[in-house]
Symmetry: none
Subunit: 162 residues, 4 copies
C-alpha cells in the first residue's frame, strides 16, 4: 500500500467514524464535552451537599484536560492536585489511592510520582467508564479529606451511567 | 438520553445552582464558581452556533484556573493556549490581541511572551468585568481563527452582565 | 551612613507610608503592599535579635509574591525554599510543618510535595490573618533551624495585628 | 596541606572576613540587605509620586533575588517581568533597554531572550553601582510604561549613592 492509498484509507475510515459518531456519540471510547460537564456538575453537587470545598478536573481518554471547575474558597493548591489526580488515574487506569499502596518506600514502584511531571498517589482520582465498561477518561477531586475526595470523584464518575 | 436532552439537563442543574447563589454573590471582586461556569457555557453556546471547535478557560482575579471546557475534536494544542490566553489577559488586564501589537519586532515590549512561563499575545484572551466595571477574572478561547476566538471570548465575558 | 542609621532611615520612611495608608487599608481580604513590608521587617528584626540569617517571603491571597528580603550571608538555596514555604502555606491554608505530618511515607497525602511545581512540607510557612481572622496571605522563612524559621514566621505574621 | 588544615585555613579566612565586614559592609562588592531595602523603598516612593503601579525587584551581585515588593493593584504579570529585568541587567551588566537594541530580528544577539530561563530586553532593568562605581546588583521595575519603569529603576539604583 503506497502513501496515497494509505491516506485515502485513513480518510475513508475517518469519514465512516465521523458519520456513525454524528448519530450517537456514546459508541466512541472518549468522553464527550457534555459528558465531562455532566460529571463535573454531579461531583460539584455532591460536594455542595457534603459541604466540602473542592477542585474538580476531568481528563479525556488521551489524559488531556477536558473540563475543570474550582469551588469558591477551595484550596488554591488543589487546582494542580485535582488535575494531576485525574491524569494519574488515566495514565495507569487506576484509583489513585491504590497506586499509593505501591509507591511507598520499599514498594515495587517506589517514587513513581516523580515521573510524568508529577503524579498523585493518594485517593481522589478515578477512571471514568462508559456503559460498555470501557475507560473513556478520568476524574480528579481535591480539597476535602482523601475519603471525601474519593467519594465525590466516584459520584462524578458514575454520573456517566445515568 | 440524546445530546439535546443532556444539554438541557446540564442547563437545568446550572439554572437552579445559579438561582440559589444569586443572593450572596457579586459582593467581592473575584469571579465566583457559578459565574465562571456561566461564562464557560455562554462561550460554548456561541462556538456551537458558529460551528467552531474551541477550548475555553476562565481564570479568577488571582489568575488561577477557575473553570475549563474542551469541545470535542478541538485542537489538543489549544488546551494550553486557551489557559495561557486567560492568564495573560488577567496578568496585564488587557485584550491579548492588543498586547500583541506591542510585542512585535521593534515593539516596546518585544518578546515579553517569554516571561511568566509563556504568554500568548494574539487575540482570544479578554478580562472579565463585573457590573461595577471591576476586573474579576479573564477568559481565554483557542481553536478557531483569532477573530472567532476573540468573538467567542467576548460573548463569554459579557455573560456576567446579564 | 552606618547600618543603624540606615535602618532608622528605612523605618522612618516606612512609618510615614504606613500612616498615610492606614485609613483605606484592611477593608479587602488581600494583604496590602505596606502590610507585607511590615510583616517582612518584623520578621527580619526578630531574626536579627535571634542572630539567625534567613530569607523571608510574603505572598498575597492569590499566592503571588508580594514582598521578599534576603539577609546578608543567608543561604542562597533558601530563596526558593522561603518562597515555596509561603506559597504552600497559602495553597492549603496551613502551617507547613503540619502539612509535613501528613506527607511522610505511609501518610495520607504522601509525596504531595511533587505537585504545584514543588511544595515545602516542613516548618517555616504560616498563613497571615487579619484582625477579622480572614487569611489574607502567607509568610515563608528559611535559613535557620526549622524551629527558628517557624518562630520568625510567626512573629512576622502577627505584626499584622498590631 | 591535608583536609583538616585546609578546613582550618578556610575557617580562619572566614573569621577574618566576617570580622572586617562587621565594621563596614560597604567594602564588599555585593549589595547588602539594607541597601536593597533602601533601593526598593526609594523606587516605591518615586512610583507613588508618579502615580504608577509597579513591581520592584532587586538582585545581588550573584543575580539572586535580594528584595522585592509588589504595589497593590499592579499587574500580576509584572512580578516575573520585574525579577527577570533585574536578573537580565546583572547577567550582562547592562540597561535592559540597551540589550533590546541587539536582540531584534537581524540583530547580533537575536533571540538571546530564550536563554537563562527567559530574559527581558526592554527598559526597566538597571545595574546598581556603589560609590566606587562597582556593580553590586541590579534593579528591575515593571508595571508602568517602559519610560516610567526605567525612570523609577534609575531613582532606585541611585538611592545607594545618597
Amino acid at each position: 500500500m503506497n502513501s496515497l492509498k494509505k491516506l485515502n484509507f485513513c480518510i475513508a475510515i475517518l469519514a465512516i467514524t465521523l458519520f456513525s459518531c454524528a448519530l450517537q456519540a456514546q459508541i466512541t471510547n472518549d468522553i464527550t464535552s457534555n459528558q465531562a460537564l455532566k460529571v463535573l456538575l454531579a461531583a460539584k453537587a455532591k460536594a455542595e451537599t457534603d459541604n466540602v470545598l473542592v477542585n474538580i478536573a476531568v481528563v479525556d481518554a488521551g489524559a488531556n484536560l477536558k473540563a475543570f471547575v474550582r469551588m469558591d474558597e477551595s484550596y488554591l493548591g488543589s487546582i494542580d492536585v485535582a488535575i494531576k489526580k485525574a491524569k494519574t488515574a488515566r495514565y495507569f487506569n487506576i484509583d489513585t489511592g491504590k497506586l499509593g499502596e505501591l509507591t511507598q518506600p520499599g514498594g515495587i514502584i517506589y517514587n513513581i510520582e516523580l515521573t510524568n511531571n508529577g503524579l498523585v498517589s493518594f485517593p481522589g482520582g478515578i477512571p471514568i467508564k462508559n456503559k460498555e465498561d470501557k475507560i473513556i477518561g478520568a476524574i480528579g477531586v481535591s480539597g476535602g479529606t482523601i475519603e471525601q475526595d474519593r467519594e465525590i470523584a466516584t459520584v462524578g464518575a458514575q454520573a456517566i451511567l445515568n
